[in-house]
Symmetry: C2
Subunit: 387 residues, 2 copies
């Protein structure tokens, strides 16, 4: 179920080794040139056609010269060994909303984890904020992460210390869906102290990156990573940020991309809330809990089909999802443990499928219980409340 051939996939994988994330020049080339041709030109010495800056091209060629042309195949093998994959524009799993980044959209994404990124991202919110947050900020982020997860929303963040980590942990603790967007390879745990958290996210959620396996983060990669967080989600919530914090860049990027930008206020006497308040005096909306976030991001457009009934015919589901769906009782509901047992799948697999089924509009979540989605025929009034 993909328009992407193996040659193109390998070419794009090779490009992620030598092109920095968000490189719009290369993005423009890729609109005009097939990835395979670009790779042949960069690695094989073939010349590029007109419209390409020589200087830029030479720089990339030098980077290519320092890397093995077969490195891409090795990277693809490595991600496979991690139980992951490399997805590209054109793949079914590619989140369409990343295309809003224009020529700066990722060349591809390295993904670890069982869930379908595209499905999870349909109903997702990012939570960002200070690494050196206060107890107050950590508490808010964890509570918000758990609250969004409880309402069936995917929590996206950057796996950093402070707010990021608390948000992921809150979502995981609520047995919800969470996606970490790294500024390094998906197997390169940064910060080191979050090795265990990132491992758990890869098991229970998703860990994604533009950089190939093994690659390390840099200062600029952190900043460019933020655009993926902003673009991937329906809205960004900033929980504690100083003036001139990187989180504010993410938030403003979200606004530019037409996403919702939200901030959780704090004491005006706290420097760690000053950036949030600055944002709230501009484009951002005050939110104080998960319900308010969902009310906002769930209210307009409604990308997520959950309340309009399934978008996919039931017989097009993959076999495992189909078995999990079969296991959901017609009345009442069941927790993921029982559904895993009744469908004969591992609980973690069942959970991932349940979130996908939710995004597709087949099931809905109420606390720990999953039940069949009620079709809201003509019930437009009830749609505003979100999940």
């Amino acid at each position: 179920m993909s328009d992407v051939g193996e040659e193109e996939r390998t070419a794009r994988a090779a490009l992620t080794r030598i092109v920095e994330p968000g490189d719009e020049t290369v993005g423009r080339w890729l609109r005009q040139t097939a990835p395979v041709h670009l790779v042949q030109a960069l690695f094989g010495g073939r010349d590029m056609s007109s419209g390409v800056s020589k200087e830029k091209f030479q720089g990339l060629r030098m980077r290519a010269a320092r890397t093995d042309i077969d490195g891409a195949a090795a990277d693809l093998a490595a991600i496979g060994a991690l139980g992951g994959r490399f997805i590209c524009p054109g793949d079914d799993e590619w989140p369409q909303q990343l295309n809003d980044l224009g020529d700066g959209r990722p060349i591809g994404l390295w993904v670890r984890g069982r869930a379908n990124l595209r499905m999870w991202a349909l109903k997702s919110v990012s939570i960002v904020g200070a690494r050196a947050c206060t107890e107050y900020g950590a508490h808010l982020a964890a509570t918000l992460g758990a609250g969004l997860a409880d309402r069936g929303w995917t929590v996206v963040s950057g796996a950093a210390y402070g707010v990021d980590g608390a948000a992921h942990r809150g979502a995981l603790a609520a047995e919800g869906a969470s996606v970490a967007v790294l500024a390094s390879g998906v197997d390169y745990a940064y910060p080191r102290g979050h090795t265990e958290l990132i491992h758990r996210l890869a098991e229970q959620g998703l860990v994604i990156a533009e950089l190939p396996p093994g690659d390390h983060p840099t200062r600029s990669r952190f900043i460019l990573r933020n655009r993926v967080i902003a673009a991937l989600t329906r809205g960004t919530v900033v929980v504690e940020a100083e003036l001139r914090s990187g989180s504010l860049v993410t938030a403003r990027r979200a606004t530019e991309l037409g996403r919702f930008t939200m901030g959780m206020p704090g004491p005006v006497t706290s420097g760690l809330s000053a950036g949030v308040h600055q944002l709230l005096r501009g484009e951002a909306v005050v939110v104080t809990d998960a319900a308010e976030v969902v009310e906002l991001v769930g209210s307009i457009g409604d990308l997520a089909p959950a309340q309009r009934g399934p978008v996919l015919a039931r017989d097009l589901l993959d076999p495992v999802a189909s078995r999990v769906l079969e296991a959901v009782p017609a009345r009442g509901g069941a927790d993921s443990r029982r559904l895993a047992r009744d469908s004969g799948t591992a609980e973690e697999v069942a959970q991932g499928k349940l979130f996908e089924l939710q995004s597709l509009g087949f099931v809905q979540r109420c606390g720990a219980v999953w039940e069949l989605a009620r079709r809201s025929v003509g019930a437009t009034g009830s749609r505003r409340g979100g999940a």
Copy 2:
């Protein structure tokens, strides 16, 4: 300098004894009937013309029957003995913006203090919030009160415990202008614990009320008092308020009246900030300090003529104000103590006049120093910053 005759003043004073604040029915009658005639009808048994509800009229007549028709003269004597006055629509000191209350505008205002209410109210902001505020709220209110006073703005509040008191005290501590709007007579200190504060406000600032001297507050009078606070000022800042707090009513009233509505955020975990956050999710703007308040309220319309040069010719100033203005040195400035000495007036009198002169655009304040206002000829760009 008034269009109000003594008969009308006495009649309006008498009406404040029997008509509750904000009575729009009586306000409508007063558009059609001279106050003197209304009083004659209520106290003297004369009938009212058509368009008057009999039931309502009888109710007021019963209240009139329980009061002395000469009570108004006694009240006027009492306010005079307190060094105060009773001002009415049509008086030079009447703040025009109160007319935005329509038929609910006060019948008149009992005023204690030396300053000119109209002048002081030109550049005024109200600070409202919880009586049972936290230390955080009290700190914010005091700092904001002082900061606004430092910038030459008058701080208006209700003299209650908590946020109100802290705001007044902050303004007084900065030797600024502050106005208390009471829900009782101006000589009836409520709450009792604020007797000293209200006395200081009458000495250093202004204490005003719709109720005649000696009258006590009631629950509904507190609520109706809030509309005067909202209408009198350019904007209302809410500092800590629970959901369903009376301060939110004041804030919403301010919005309805086209004034600025602002809120100071706090921890989302604090019930005392929940009302503020609710407001901030609606009509109110986040502010975190006095500079941001002044930037907002000083930016549009600019009722205050401070930066456009005087609105009143210098030779129309009253003799004391004129002497104080003469004392301000052409270069540099002087504090109020020196200006009082050089103009031969009491320091408190000089201070009141200096705030009036500031409102009229003759002088400006920089910390403790008063100096002649610079005419900002064509300097529209600098006007946005406010005072």
